[in-house]
């Protein structure tokens, strides 16, 4: 077992009720390129239409509702290493992000947000005149 060995949720709570819906904190990557910030969040089990992305007062919040799994009527649990519930996490946006043009895409349990940098935060090529 090598690098790929952290699971995707937050803190450990023992003896939690078996089927109580909770809210979990998704693992994210944040990457920066010249023009954009990209936020990639693992929110498995969600559907595109159940994901809410909003910016309010400079706070970006992603929330993804996840239905409880259907295990059938007489299922006996044998192993419970993670809980299932909504994913939610918030980020404070700096002035460098143009929050009016955020793009969100969801595929295979991964939410990808593209946050264009504000004009003043983009790298600029300065023309050099020769006199």
């Amino acid at each position: 077992m090598t690098a790929c060995c952290q699971t995707t949720n937050g803190q450990t709570t023992e003896n939690a009720p078996a089927r109580e819906a909770r809210t979990y904190r998704p693992a994210v990557d944040v990457l920066e390129t010249a023009d954009n910030l990209t936020l990639v969040a693992d929110v498995p089990g969600a559907r595109a239409e159940s994901i809410d992305v909003r910016v309010e007062e400079g706070i970006l919040t992603i929330r993804a509702e996840v239905p409880q799994r259907d295990t059938g009527a007489n299922a006996q649990w044998r192993l419970r290493e993670y809980g299932v519930g909504a994913w939610e996490r918030s980020f404070r946006l700096g002035d460098d992000v143009d929050s009016s043009r955020i793009d969100a895409a969801y595929r295979d349990g991964v939410l990808t947000l593209t946050l264009p940098k504000a004009e003043h935060a983009r790298p600029r090529k300065i023309e050099v005149r020769s006199n």
Binding site: M1, T2, A3, C4, C5, Q6, T7, T8, N9, Q11, T12, T13, E14, N15, A16, A18, R22, T23, Y24, R25, A27, V28, D29, V30, L31, E32, T33, L37, T38, L39, D42, V43, P44, G45, A46, I59, L60, R69, T71, N74, A75, Q76, W77, R78, L79, R80, E81, Y82, G83, V84, R89, F91, R92, L93, G94, V97, D108, G109, V110, L115
Partner: protein, 150 residues
């Protein structure tokens, strides 16, 4: 590789309630290490849930961003191995401000408590959730199975 008996009495739920903190998008290059790093550094990947009914064992794992072709499921007698890799390669010019999502290879092996009809094992991968259905062998089904509360 980590071996674990699916049907050992250990069945501690491990849900992770959100703390309502607000992250900064720019983390200051890991000045604040991601919370999971200290808390769960040794956790096996992927975390697994498993349940059993009269007909089958069911095992579920969260593998967001994986394709079925990235995942290898092997049943050898009663030993089930789930292995695979996630290798996302970002643009070379990209700078990471946070990197919490697991990358690289993983492998987990479970020892099942019952014989499986290996020809009828099925797996689905939907919205990043892998579900493996392992139908019990005929002989195992007929037997009365003592069920302990998890």
């Amino acid at each position: 590789m980590l071996t674990r008996r699916v049907f050992s009495p250990v069945a501690v739920a491990r849900p992770f309630p959100i703390d309502r903190e607000i992250d900064r998008l720019f983390s200051g290059f890991f000045a604040d290490a991601p919370a999971w790093f200290s808390q769960r550094g040794a956790a096996a990947f992927p975390a697994l849930n498993a349940w059993e009914d009269d007909q089958a064992l069911h095992i579920e794992a969260e593998l967001p961003g994986f394709a079925m072709s990235d995942i290898e499921i092997t049943l050898n007698g009663r030993e089930l191995t789930i292995a695979g890799a996630r290798n996302e390669t970002p643009a070379q010019s990209a700078t990471f401000h946070r990197r919490e999502r697991p990358q690289g290879r993983f492998s987990r092996t479970l020892t099942l408590n019952t014989d499986i009809d290996a020809d009828k094992v099925g797996a689905t991968l939907e919205q990043g959730v892998l579900r493996i259905t392992l139908p019990k062998a005929e002989a195992a089904r007929a037997r009365k199975i003592e069920v302990r509360a998890a």
